[in-house]
Amino acid sequence: MTRTDPLDVPRPDAQLHFGVFFQGVNHWTVWSDPASGSQIDPANFRRVAQTAERGLFDAFFLGEGLRLREVDGRIHDLDVAGRPDAITQLAALAAVTDRIGLVSTSNTTFNEAADLARRLSGLDLLSEGRAGWNVVTTDNAWTGANFRRGGYLDHADRYRRAEEFLTVARALWDSWADKAVAGSADAPAWAAPGAVRQVRHQGPQFDVDLAPTLPRSAQGHPVIFQAGDSGEGRDFAARNADVIFSAHGNDFDDALAFADDLRRRLRAVGRPDDDLRILPGTEIIIGATEEEALEKKRWIRLQQVTPATALGIAGLLWGIDLFGRDADGPLPKEDPVVAENDGSFGARRIADPRQVVAEWREKADANRWSLRETVIALGPQRGHVGTPEGLADKFAHFVRHGAVDGFNVTPYLIPDGLDDIVDHLVPALQERGVYRTDYTGTTLREHLNLRAPLTHRTATA
């Protein structure tokens, strides 16, 4: 076993956890390659989940978006789009996998607590304790046009609703006593008398008075993930989540700062600071040598950032429709427009586009980059590139220093994009003692080495 860090690192025994994030809607999945398969064929979902399970991953993740993305009022046509409902797809995967966790991104703004809690319970029972729920809030109002209630809820209210949503969901999940269900047909009733509590909740968002339909699963109830980056989002995670799915996993210092921030927030709400797993989303590009890996990255970036996509990304920064410009030419001459957030998918979250554009100009001039080359070099960055050994050393360093607990990997190719990782990176991590060599439990909660659900703590731990 090679140890790359000395034993006096903060977490010498820390283990890396992997999830696979089957994004479904994005421009990072290379769809133009001949090896790229259908994004809706169930065989490909099965293939990815089974490969991840072969690689002893903790979880298989699905994202969610409840309206097709638009740019300037027109359906965005460049990226992969069209995907199954997450819980429905995961219930199917429960039948063809044994161990891997199954995590659904499901938002709290356009669902109802009792309905979603029941669906998630069903997934948890059908997978015998492997369900997870990535709580998201939907950061736009236009999604509301697809729902009875219409567009609604500003940022602060979304988290308030999310919190009350979780309270109701947990009350439903906890409403059946352990061993409530009869062990034999001679019992007085299917569920022991008094073992099922009526759930009554009255609050600003929910008014529920309900006899719940389902007992607990092998892991108590689904593992709670959270994905949201604002202060409110992080506080919400500190109060409620078992895992945070972050966007801080590329750079060590940034990841560590994020992790330290979360640990502070955990302590502030009275939780142990190792109570939350941090799994940033990432892309992993592997080559037999550094050069090969970099060459592969160049190729992948060119597939991901096509001329049209480059114009789209730059258009968001400039706040100008750049359609029809030459992506292989120089940067637009115009100054960026500092626009109000119009609530559509085109909305920018760039604090100061003028400053960013000035930086882009400077670097593009110095390196003689085209617009597309500039977007690839300076636009949204993601992921890790290297040899299996180099990446294993790097990840061991990340995890042993408490910057992350693992990664939620986005394969750039469906369905084979995980093969490299499972076949080459996982063994290198195992050699370093930083990755499990077998599943040691059967539930997602066990894989993640989590304590009992937050609502069960007083009784059990």
């Binding site: 978006g65 034999s184 006899a211």
Partner: protein, 367 residues
């Protein structure tokens, strides 16, 4: 016998049609919700030759009174079954009284993708007032209001299934376009109580439109592919079937069969001590397997199929599989589904053309 051969459907919710069925099940009560149990029932029914499995559901616990029985959502069970079977059709019950049609549309389209075209949908209602609180919506009160929600809901779900044309994913490397946005459509649905924009987030289902089943008393007949028809005797069923106005009709048949250990009568009596098998106005056969075969043969030509509701799945399904279905298949009174075909194909229903593609083609013709 005249008429096309029957298609056979089986209701597999819980432990059987009787509210106390769990007391005669072959497994312990706490195994009812286990994946092994769900998969085993589906496999037994598929092997027996059923064309369609239906899964009852509702937001509240099934049954009445204090004897709560747990129930996993029908869509989740259906998806699980879809991945563990290969031939049989699967239709979950999904009521639209309160649910969001956009979610329902996505879930069912996904089920059709997962099953590669074996999915159906039984449209039902949430009649119990407590169900309103599950969705935080005002009570939808009375049959008229519930029918309105079902009608609008089925309409918008069907429109959403068509909102992607079959070939909307073009993967055009030359133009960098994954989608052809001209083949995606806003449905801009306006119903009595809400609007839905669209398009769907799930590509068009493999069958184009899932097979929609329900009661023509609650859902307009022109929105249904298959009507479930009731009636306590053959005359009543014949009348309901001829009045249905849907492409296909299935008769509802409740069944309790004699077994090696007890007669059908004894089995019913045993369970009636714990609760009553309420009369829903359906055909009911309590007796021998041979008697059931005779009844089913009589239904051939009256309806296109039957849906069996066994008293206790673990007791009646083996008897039906062993003593009833083989004879029906042998004499071609009923047919087994074929591997690789869609549920629509099994029911002799065409795959519907996409409404937008049809409209676009018509435009072309005018020009």
């Amino acid at each position: 016998m005249s008429g096309p051969a029957l298609r056979l459907a089986l209701e597999i919710d819980g432990d059987g049609a009787h509210p106390a069925a769990w007391r005669r099940a072959a497994h312990s009560p706490d195994q009812l919700l286990s994946p092994r149990r769900v998969a085993r029932v589906a496999a037994a029914a598929e092997n027996a030759g059923f064309t369609l499995l239906t899964l009852d559901d509702g937001a509240l616990p099934p049954g009445t009174g204090p004897d709560v029985v747990g129930r996993i959502g029908a869509v989740e069970r259906a998806a699980f079954i879809a991945a563990s079977t290969s031939v049989v059709g699967i239709a979950p019950v999904v009521p639209l009284t309160y649910a969001e049609p956009f979610h329902v549309s996505s879930q069912l389209a996904s089920l059709d993708h997962i099953s590669i075209g074996r999915a159906g949908w039984v449209v039902s209602e949430e009649a119990r007032p407590e169900a309103a609180s599950v969705w935080g919506r005002p009570l939808v009160d009375g049959t008229v209001a519930r029918a309105r929600e079902s009608r609008d809901g089925v309409e918008v779900v069907r429109e959403l299934w068509d909102s992607w044309e079959d070939d909307a994913v073009i993967r055009s490397v030359a133009t960098s376009r994954y989608l052809d946005r001209d083949r995606l459509h806003y449905v801009d649905f306006t119903g009595d109580t809400y609007t839905v924009k669209g398009p769907a987030i799930v590509p068009r289902p493999p069958q184009g439109q899932l097979v929609v089943l329900g009661s023509p008393e609650r859902v307009p007949a022109d929105q249904l592919d298959v009507a479930f028809v009731e009636g306590r005797d053959l005359t009543a069923v014949t009348a309901s079937a001829s009045a249905a106005g849907t492409p296909r009709t299935f008769a509802e048949v409740e069944v309790a069969l004699d077994t090696a250990h007890a007669t059908a009568e004894e089995r019913v009596e045993d369970l009636e001590r714990h609760g009553s098998w309420s009369d829903r106005g359906r055909l009911r056969h309590i007796g021998s397997a041979a008697g059931l075969a005779v009844l089913l043969r009589e239904l051939r030509g009256v309806v296109d199929g039957v849906r069996l509701h066994p008293l206790v799945l673990d007791e009646d399904l083996p008897e039906v599989s062993r003593l009833v279905l083989p004879h029906l298949f042998e004499r071609r009174d009923a047919v087994r589904p074929l591997a690789g075909a869609s549920l629509r194909t099994h029911l002799g229903l065409d795959r519907p053309a996409n409404r937008y593609a049809v409209a676009a083609a018509a435009q072309e013709d005018v020009r």
